[in-house]
Amino acid sequence: MTPLSATLLEPETTQQDVADEPSGSVCGVLAEFSGPKELLRAAEMVRDAGYTKTDAFSPFPIHGMDDALGIKSTILPVIVLVVGLTGCAGGLLMQWWMNAVDYPFLISGKPLFSLPANIPVTFEIIVLTSAFTAFLGMLGLNGLPKPANPLFEQERFRGVTDNKFFMYVAADDPKYDGQEVVELFHRAGATWVDDVPNSTSPSRLPGAIKMALLVLFAIALVPPLMIYRARHTTSEAPRFDFFPDMDAQRYRSAQQSSDLFADGRAMRPQVAGTIAVGDFHENDAFFLGYIPGEDDEAPADEPAPADAAAPAAGAPAANEPDYVTEFPVEVTESLMQRGQLKFNIYCAPCHGLAGQGDGLVSLRAIELQQPTWVPPTNLISPPVVAQPVGKIYDTITNGRRKMSGYAAQIPPEDRWAIVLYVRALQKSQHASLEEIPEDKAAVLKNQK
């Protein structure tokens, strides 16, 4: 018996309730009648006789049988109405929530939610839900599906779906008395009357079928379980992707690999001598940190042209370019701060926060006694202090000895900022008391 019926059957006693419980060996009396009219008449007689747990069986519905048996009208319509209304509300709510609340998008300049557009779907949902209710409700109230039934064991009863008409009174009817019922049926003109013995076969499903159903259920569980497992276990391999329509793109994006080139890179180096738009600079002092000689590019075979002979005056030793000695940028407080920031990011790890060459990396390398480790320059040592700013800038740009150039990482402005900060560090280390502003000086004095 399905749960639905279990809950709903109280008001409506049905013949199944009767047939299920075994009361003695007989569960009721069954009589056959020759036609619809006879059956109707019999039903009325039985009803008048005061029997309640009765039922009539026919190949097709017989009009008037409801009254004849005294069947109360079913509540099915009410259930359907309730569910239908719920479906309506649910449908509207769903559309409003999905399109206007959870994931709103601007479509054809239309409002996020407008009733006209949402009526069709709502309507379909109403129909769908109520239709299912009507069908399942009918089954539930009728206690179907019901595989076994004592009546089915009556050979004659098989004709009920063809051309036979039966009347039945259950044994547990309060006024039940086998004999009386039999006589009543005979009076009603039954063509055949007999007791119905209790069902010998179990009213439950046969074990085999149960097993089969269980197995089916188990098998049905396998795919979802596999998916669950796939989703909740980690793996070396990339994620599954059964339809890689646009996931695998044919273009080569930034830094991707490509077997088209021998080095396996899709990224190609810039050809020597080429100059991208915006990479040509007039201001050598700013971008190089030194003023290049005019004719450095002239090939050996032809003599250096006269017009570009003399390098700028006061140039230091030969093969040393003409470094700028003044900052080509405006020296400001903010530049100083930026310099500190960048210095601590890029330089401090080796050169140390104070630029004394005692950065963490360096310390660690020494601690591990790395044979190849060249200790970083002490930036506040006199030789560095003596260097023109241009040279320091050039060092940052192109590197010195083991230190590689930072041109790629640090834009020119920031390089100058760092140079400025280095200068500040140098000054700070060799500062005499006079050079310190009064208030700060006071602080220092107190420390002593």
């Binding site: 998008f105 601007l106 479509i107 054809s108 300049g109 239309k110 409002p111 391999a237 990339p238 994620r239 599954f240 992707d241 059964f242 890689p244 329509d245 646009m246 695998a248 793109q249 044919r250 273009y251 080569r252 994006s253 930034a254 830094q255 991707q256 690999s257 490509s258 088209l260 080139f261 021998a262 396996g264 890179r265 899709a266 990224m267 190609r268 180096p269 810039q270 050809v271 020597a272 001598g273 080429t274 100059i275 991208a276 738009v277 915006g278 990479d279 040509f280 290049p292 005019e294 004719d295 450095d296 590019e297 002239a298 090939p299 042209p305 570009a308 590689s404 041109a407 790629a408 990482q409």
Partner: protein
């Protein structure tokens, strides 16, 4: 255990993969391409996208990052860089700016700093980038001996060459003959002279199928020396193009288009008026106010008559209505020229014979244009000496013929049997970018580098010295021309050094590194531009004046005139293997993937042929067969055939008979003899009975009467036009052309407070040149679909340039209209998508979420402009073919490559919007008013397209939308398009102007649009007819077959 391990290892050694792996690990060349996997034309093997699934299995591809150990300075991975360079196409140098992504060039545009383009470019420039990544380019030297080919290395090639040249060193170069494709590169010139010094006996000939023989000759006739002419169309009042595509194929086409479009401003008091006298419909004529279609042979007479009329000082008067169109225009033209001395321009196309060019010079001189609207510049380019080569070769042949570029076997005149001539040389070496028909008859083919792969230089049209810097190391084992020549000289062959050497010699100031770097950076040497000259006009006999052009033509088969046109897609055939160009619709015919016998409806009628009929063209004994395309406006009695098709050794796209890939189109060169390289009379056309459907992107089928009448009714509403007078009378006539009920929304309209991206297209400037189509294709990874799919009307171009013919079929007017996604604010496509794959952004973009699209195609149905494109098949499968992989590199990594089953369309170049947004954000500033350029806008020479933020009153687009001429296409549907069109203003001569009818109360005074419902449409029909010169009844029938 271990045994098997050893054995397996030994087996492994012999497997192909292992060999290949070895190869990749320790390669000689920069790269390796498996060849010959699929040698069918890839356009025919479009298939399933499941093939792609095969590539990556059922998992995501494992991605590996491959950065540089030390990052190059001033390059951020994934951020594009620009490089100025110079590229020579068919001897014409172009100042370009290449966009490079991670060190790979992905797009070419004009160099905005140089006047020749001002940042614009044409379809050839745009498509050149595709050639760079074309695997059909020569990849290794090839030696063919005993009828079979062998891939060789350069080492082997060099041994051969050195051995040869050591002999020549002895013989002073006797027996050595060089046939070089004309180039303007000073370095090449320098090396040439160096070679000539080294090998005095060497014979050197310059050759190009497109060399401007006639204009040079004309100038020499007029001034005694070759000159180049530059035009100032902006300040010219009258422009007369004689059989010339002044705004298109002309070397300075871009510059001309720009200055012309600036002169076409209807709001200025003087608007340039353009007369076009020509044979086949050129792009220039699209912009013309008056066009006369004459057969090329009549044109000389026409111009001579003009000179006559100008000489006579009797009062000019209008020809009467009944007179033939040509006479009416003639009268008006003469009148205009007389009225505007010193303000006119007369220019002649290369096709016309020497005298006509000379005559044009004389006229310009007489009209006092020279020095005002016409500027003369010296012409240093080397003359074409192909004829001398022929005589030389016939006479003595030689031991070695060295061909530098070019493809004489294919494109030389048909009556010169170049192949046989070449046989007269023991060794024939072809050094070119592509192995082609000529290489096929050479015993050595040597690969030349693509212009974007090597250092070089060139002289621009205006004499400016331009430097070409490489964007990428050569992809194949190739050498640049100058490196090769230097190699022959035995000098050191560093391209950069060679070019600098030249620069030093030519311009001492460039000795300084800084100055040199400046030039490299700018792409050209600003101070080197040629100074105008004023040569003395010589006395010469102009063409004989005749009135033959006045009488209406009788179409007599056998007496027809054939005109050979350089094609807007493949030029002279050199772009035959370029799929973008092959699929680019011809501006007027909208034909793709083939050439045809183009003739006017009247001609076709007289010959009894229809569209797609395959006909035999016979010209003194030579014949070709190709389908007919009926084109209004082709001069009656003439047949135009495009050269450059029917390539037999172009590649897997353009045709390669050795690989079993049929040629595209038919080689018209077969009937093109030295005598008549440009046009010829005496053509006979005879139907073969066969039919061959041409792949056309508009008017996909011979249209019926019903449709035709409808089109004539509609064109006036879609492409809104008015005469200058009409415009001055009531400027917003365009807005009032279509009447509709008030456009009100049922809902509170969405407001766009932030940016509101919009576009405006000025139909008055557009000349339908198609450059925008290719630019869009290159920028947005638009696939190529191939002829069959085009026939099925499934072309994928995001941008289409519609063209409609109106008026008489023999003397029609044409209206062009670029159409792309209009980004409607009430986009009809959006509401019908069940999965919300296309939605609106808060900046008014109609976004397309490819990954969400399931391909119901409902949006396509509901788009009134039909600008949505659907991937019916996997149009990318060709790239999966291993030997095609290289082509992936041309893709723009910032635009998703759409897969099969997905809808796509114009995005207003959203990737460019985002990039600019990011830049602005980083620099903590708002986006500038005109900072963002869409690809189509960037390429447009006539500045017809503007894009920007409608909410920014500073922006050009906001101004354009506010313009009186602005109107929304199909705005009556209340879709609120974000793209607006500016109505086209024609400037006809008063005598030829259509009667301005008092356009049903257009004045805009009081009467709102909603005022009339029905009758308005009746009116539209009416004035649509009137606005194009309506036609006499007899031609009606003809008109109906076409348009």
């Amino acid at each position: 255990m271990s045994k098997t391990w050893y054995r397996s290892l030994r087996e492994l050694e012999n497997t192909a993969e292992f060999q290949e792996m070895l190869h990749r690990e320790f390669p000689e060349a920069a790269s390796e391409f498996p060849k010959g996997l699929s040698r069918r034309r890839w356009l025919q093997i479009m298939g399933s996208s499941l093939a792609l699934a095969g590539v990556s299995g059922c998992r995501f591809e494992a991605e590996t990052l491959a950065p540089f150990a030390t990052r190059p300075a001033n390059r951020i991975p994934g951020k594009t860089q620009q490089f100025n360079t110079t590229v020579e196409i068919a001897g014409q140098a172009r100042a370009l700016r290449a966009t490079s992504y991670d060190g790979r060039p992905i797009k070419l545009d004009g160099n905005p700093d140089h006047l020749s383009s001002g940042g614009a470019s044409d379809s050839y420039t745009q498509a050149t980038i595709l050639d760079l990544y074309d695997p059909d380019r020569g990849q290794t030297p090839i030696e063919s001996t005993g009828g079979s080919k062998f891939n060789r290395s350069w080492i082997e090639a060099d041994t051969f060459l050195t051995e040869q040249f050591s002999q020549f060193a002895g013989s002073k170069g006797d027996g050595l003959c060089v046939l070089a494709e004309s180039t303007s590169s000073p370095t090449a010139q320098r090396l040439k002279t160096a070679l000539q010094d080294k090998f005095p006996q060497m014979k050197w000939f310059d050759y190009s199928s497109l060399s401007p023989v006639n204009s040079r000759g004309g100038a020499t006739l007029a001034f005694g020396k070759p000159v180049r002419t530059e035009y100032d169309l902006e300040s010219a009042a009258v422009v007369v193009t004689i059989d010339s595509d002044l705004l298109g194929q002309h070397p300075e086409g871009l510059r001309n288009a720009r200055s012309f479009s600036r002169g076409r401003n209807p709001d200025s008091e003087q608007m340039t008026r353009l007369y076009a006298v020509e044979c086949e419909f050129t792009g220039t004529a699209v912009a013309a106010d008056h066009r006369v279609a004459l057969r090329p042979s009549q044109i000389a007479g026409f111009l001579a008559s003009v000179e006559q009329a100008l000489a006579s000082d009797e009062e000019t008067h209008a020809a009467d209505e009944s007179a033939p169109w040509s006479q009416q225009v003639f009268a008006a033209l003469v009148d205009d020229l007389k009225k505007h001395p010193g303000q006119s321009v007369i220019t002649v196309g290369e096709r016309q014979p020497v005298e006509v060019h000379a005559l044009a010079h004389r006229l310009n001189q007489k009209l006092g244009n020279v020095g005002k609207t016409v500027t003369l510049l010296p012409d240093e380019s080397s003359a074409d000496t192909f004829d001398e080569f022929v005589t030389h070769a016939e006479a003595n042949g030689g031991s070695m013929l060295l061909l530098l570029g070019g493809n004489p076997v294919y494109d030389s005149p048909a009556d010169v049997e170049v192949a046989e001539l070449m046989e007269k040389f023991e060794n024939r070496v072809h050094f070119a970018v592509y192995p082609n028909e000529t290489s096929a008859v050479c015993n050595w083919y040597l690969p030349m580098s693509h212009p974007l792969e090597c250092w070089s230089d060139a002289t621009l049209y205006d004499g400016t010295y331009g430097v070409a810097q490489p964007l990428i190391e050569p992809l194949f084992e190739s050498r640049s021309q100058i490196e090769f020549l230097a190699g022959l000289l035995g000098e050191e062959t560093d391209g950069l050094e060679l070019v600098r050497q030249t620069a030093r010699e030519l311009y001492p100031e460039l000795k300084s590194t800084r100055e040199w770097e400046r030039v490299v950076h700018n792409g050209f040497h600003a101070d080197s531009t040629a100074k105008p000259i004023t040569p003395e006009l010589q006395n010469f006999e102009g063409p004989a004046a005749s009135t033959e052009w006045q009488n209406p033509v009788e179409v007599t088969n056998g007496e027809l005139e054939v005109v050979f046109t350089t094609d807007s897609s493949v030029l002279d055939g050199r772009f035959a293997n370029n799929a973008w160009l092959q699929e680019l619709p011809h501006p007027l015919t909208k034909m793709t993937w083939s050439n045809a016998a183009i003739m006017s409806p009247k001609t076709a009628d007289a010959l009894g042929v229809k569209d797609d009929d395959v006909v035999r063209l016979e010209l003194d004994g030579r014949e070709i067969e190709l389908p007919v395309y009926v084109q209004p406006g082709q001069a009656t009695g003439s047949v135009a055939v495009a050269i450059g098709y029917g390539r037999t050794h172009a590649g897997l796209v353009g045709g390669d008979v050795e690989e079993g890939v049929a040629p595209v189109g038919v080689n018209a060169g077969v009937i093109r003899t030295a005598g008549n390289r440009y046009f010829a009379t005496g053509l006979k056309v005879s139907p073969t009975g066969r039919r061959e459907e041409l792949a056309v992107t508009q008017d996909h089928y011979a249209i019926d009467k019903v449709g035709l009448e409808e089109i004539h009714g509609r064109v006036g509403d879609l492409v809104r036009e008015g005469t200058l007078d009409e415009y001055r009378e009531h400027p917003e006539f365009a807005e009032h052309r279509v009447h509709h009920p008030p456009l009100e929304s049922l809902w509170t309209e969405v407001s766009y407070d932030g940016h509101a991206w919009g576009m405006a297209i000025d139909l008055n400037k557009c000349i339908g040149c198609n450059a925008c189509v290719v630019a869009c294709q290159s920028e947005n990874n638009v696939p190529v679909v191939g002829p069959d799919q085009v026939r099925a009307s499934r072309e994928m171009h995001w941008m289409k340039v519609d063209r409609y013919f109106t008026g008489d079929t023999e003397e029609p007017e044409v209206a062009t209209q670029p159409v792309t996604c209009q980004h409607c604010e009430n986009a009809p496509c959006e509401q019908v998508c069940p999965v919300a794959a296309t939605v609106h952004s808060n900046e008014g973009l109609n976004d397309m979420a490819y990954n969400r699209c399931i391909g119901t195609r409902y949006c396509g149905n509901n788009c009134p402009y039909k600008v949505r494109r659907f991937n019916f098949l996997d149009y990318r499968s060709e790239m999966e073919a291993a030997n095609r992989e290289l082509m992936n590199l041309v893709l723009n990594p910032e635009v998703t490559v759409r897969s099969r089953g997905v809808m796509e369309k114009c995005t207003y170049c959203v990737q460019r919007i985002q990039n600019t947004r990011i830049e602005a954000k980083n620099e903590r500033r708002p986006i500038g008013p005109n900072e963002i350029q869409t690809a189509c806008q960037q390429v447009c020479a006539s500045e017809a397209i503007v894009f920007g933020d409608l909410n920014n009153p500073e922006s050009d687009v906001a101004k354009a939308h506010a313009d009186a001429r602005a109107y929304g296409l199909l705005a009556e549907l209340n879709v609120k398009p974000r793209t607006k069109y500016l109505a086209r203003i024609r400037n006809p001569h008063p005598w030829l102007a259509p009667p301005v009818e008092s356009a049903h109360g257009h004045g805009g005074d009081g009467h709102g649009e909603e005022a009339h419902g029905e009758h308005a449409h009746a009116d539209e029909r009416h004035d649509a007819e009137v606005s194009h010169n309506s036609v006499p009844a007899p031609t009606q029938e003809l008109r109906e077959e076409q348009v």
